[in-house]
Symmetry: C2
Subunit: 470 residues, 2 copies
């Protein structure tokens, strides 16, 4: 790589990382020459290259200015035939194998479902846990039996109330992560053989819940910008019996959209009209990029048909596996199933999280995490568009920490996954997010980890692999 190219890359990266923001003037030719210890000519070459890349623009007499980065293109929504038949679900083997492969600790973890833990207040929470453990007795096991530790329940209810979500603390049941909350919610409202409507693509935990109970899934087209196609869902409901609908209205994994309030209301009303329960997975609720926490389906639920599920795994600590359900009118059933399924959620982690929430800077922590993710979403998006071949399209995440990438149609994401693994890079193959083959040429990328040279090299390699396969 030539010296001027190196300089151009360096400046572009700084822009991508938000060091320089749109409209800001960068160093003059002379200043840059001094600063970087290179000749005037090299800087001129570098700036010309940056201009051709659309990173900066010249304004006569004023100098070089950072341009607005091009808006990433939204991924196309694959057309899903409405006549689709409900299918049996068996994706867990693939998902487990994929998760296991992430074990290779020196791999670049673009396929990880977990957020980068280094941003999390793990030390602080553990100090609480340690203090609690010292005064812990078996009585706590009994105190914190389902529905769970009363103070933790109160703290969770308080956060909802502060965000305008109507919550009765008596409705909350602590679970082992959102996984268990979703499983129990589904078991409370549907039985083996029933058909359940899910988004397409959908987060695989939803498919796991269906698979676990031997139900059938019907996939409803879901738009990367605003969520499940409610009209299509209405037509499906007219055609067949749907026992429940499972959705992720905020920052869906993998698409990253936030359903607009109007759409959420429309969905809740449609389901209410047919008395169909809605299982809402809201694990990314705290990781919004906008000004305020988004609404939930609960905000529009008049009949108690929404079973709201969430956890602290994506926003505070994945290791404690503390989740909860607010199951509306199905509260008694879910509480009973929780007791039957795992008896109780371990007590020390429940109390540690409650203590942290009461005493510590959870909001400050969240503000920081949101800022970082929002920033890294921009970087990851720009880098994918830069390194991947033409025909690549990406989502525009409005929260969370994953990017959904549509590759040229000939690329098989499972083959890409294998090839990437051989280069110590993991990705989330699109096949994990559906019972069908619609997302064979899609991948999910985790951008929660700090952007660095290794990530950039990995993305460049991925881009090359995709280009070869396309």
């Amino acid at each position: 790589m030539k010296l001027y190219e190196k300089l151009a890359d360096e400046i572009e990266q700084a822009v991508r990382r938000g060091v320089f923001v749109a409209g800001e003037r960068i160093l003059s030719i002379r200043q840059a020459s001094q600063q970087h210890g290179v000749g005037i000519k090299t800087v001129l070459h570098a700036y010309a290259l940056l201009e051709s890349r659309g990173v900066v623009e010249t304004r006569p007499q004023l100098g070089y200015f950072v341009r607005e980065l091009a808006e990433p293109q939204a991924a196309r929504n694959p057309v899903v035939p409405v006549t689709a038949v409900a299918s049996e679900v068996d994706v867990s083997r693939l998902v487990l194998a994929t998760l296991r492969s992430i074990r290779a600790q020196d791999a670049v973890p673009l396929g990880s479902p977990y957020p980068d833990p280094t941003l999390f207040p793990w030390r602080r929470i553990n100090q609480y846990a340690n203090a609690i453990a010292r005064r812990h007795s078996n009585w706590n096991l009994i105190d914190d039996l389902p529905p769970g530790n009363p103070e933790l329940i109160r703290q969770i209810a308080r956060r909802y109330a502060e965000n305008g979500v109507p919550v009765d603390p008596g409705e909350i049941i602590i679970t082992l992560g959102a996984t268990e909350a979703i499983n129990l919610s589904l078991q409370a409202v549907a039985k083996p053989g029933d058909t359940v409507a899910v988004e397409s693509p959908t987060y695989y935990a939803m498919l796991h819940a269906i698979e676990r109970l031997g139900m059938r899934a019907i996939e409803v087209p879901t738009h990367p910008a605003d969520g499940i196609d409610v009209d299509m869902l209405a037509r499906i409901i007219d055609q067949q019996k749907i026992a429940a609908c499972m959705v992720m209205p905020n920052f869906q994994n993998p698409l990253g959209f936030q359903m607009p309030d109007e759409r959420k209301k429309q969905l809740v009303d449609l389901l209410a009209a047919h008395d169909i329960p809605a299982i809402e997975n809201d694990v990314y609720q705290e990781l919004y990029y906008g000004e305020t926490r988004p609404s939930t389906l609960k905000n529009f639920d008049k009949k108690g048909l929404v079973l709201h599920c969430a956890s602290f795994s994506k926003s505070l600590t994945a290791s404690y596996r503390i989740g909860w359900a607010m199951p509306g009118r199905y509260r008694a059933q879910v509480e009973k199933l929780k007791f039957l399924n795992t008896l109780t959620t371990p007590s020390v982690p429940q109390v540690a999280v409650a203590d942290y929430l009461r005493n510590d800077g959870y909001d400050r922590h969240l503000r920081n995490v949101r800022k970082v993710y929002r920033q890294q979403a921009r970087i990851m998006s720009a880098m994918v568009l830069r390194f991947f071949p033409a025909g690549t399209r990406i989502s525009t995440p409005q929260g969370g920490y994953v990017l959904w990438v549509e590759l040229p149609e000939r690329v098989d994401s499972m083959r890409l996954y294998q090839a990437a693994l051989a280069c110590s890079i993991t990705i989330g193959p699109g096949t994990m997010f559906s019972t069908r083959n619609d997302f064979r040429h899609f991948i999910r990328l985790n951008y929660s980890y700090p952007w660095n040279a290794q990530t950039e090299a990995a993305l460049r390699t991925l881009g090359e692999l995709v280009a070869t396969m396309a």
Copy 2:
């Protein structure tokens, strides 16, 4: 209470607690008078009372000697009609309500299902947990995905191997307590609507597993001395389709028996002949009163039909909820169900227990616990026989820490439970251990807590309540 009665009680308690053992001489009249600072006459009265109670005997010219305590009578085995129909299971509400009532922390916890934690090395395990938490990262979450932490699995396998149980570490799957192990095992081998054979009485977790999956239970008479009636089970199998058999061959809760090897083999052979899987709950395996750890059904299993479930909750720490399954030929299904059910068992507790097992005195701890429980079993047995009215019969626990008490037939254990609760005493009503009404006049008592004046008073009160109701 008169002075001589107080002295007699004090000495009797010392005997019950094993301070003086059978055949040992106690203080002479003169020595006792000096020692206790009371008159000769008081001691004479006290010793006479003790003689009349059968606690001591006089040997002419030699003095007063401790007598062998009367052997407790074994509880009768209620006769269960073999024509019994499989019944729907719905006991969880009662059990949860009972567990919750134990929350009253100043109540005497005779109804608690948990062992007294003060004997457990909680501090030590927490030191490990704290050390692990400090170096923990999200990678551990992935490393310890199902089947679980490799070192913990190895340590568990090592203990089995050392006790002559044939184990392939690759068969072990870490779960959230034995509860989850039992649930997943049952789900792996049977489906909703199937009929499952259980002991009668049975540990309620077995009934919960059946209830959770919408199966039916058929109860097989189970003898307090040697376990499930294998001949009766054979006849039931001849009459109807049994999808699985759930048993607790060692120190069954509530009966406390240890099935003799011959019976275990007979049971395994019977089930193997009909290709019926056996779910073995062996959570009390380490709490034996004999010389060596008892055999398991695994020892006799040639066809991989035994799904063995256990945990550390009864012998090391109830708070960590670390259990495991060794599901024989059903390994793949159970591992998949574990992943679907709760994704993973929290990592830090897994590693903390592994570290403790590798570095610490687990065997020394267990030797101590066994000694204490064996001793307290004797005290509790003697006290029940002393305070409860005629017609009371008790089990002879060979391990674990619960006593099964048959009350005079007119006593309703649920009414007794309510009356006891009003006196700040909890008990385990017999109705929790069956889907039928056979054990209405039985109760389960926990004797893991150190025997003291409060416990003795509680037992006296219980005895009075029973006498009133009888």
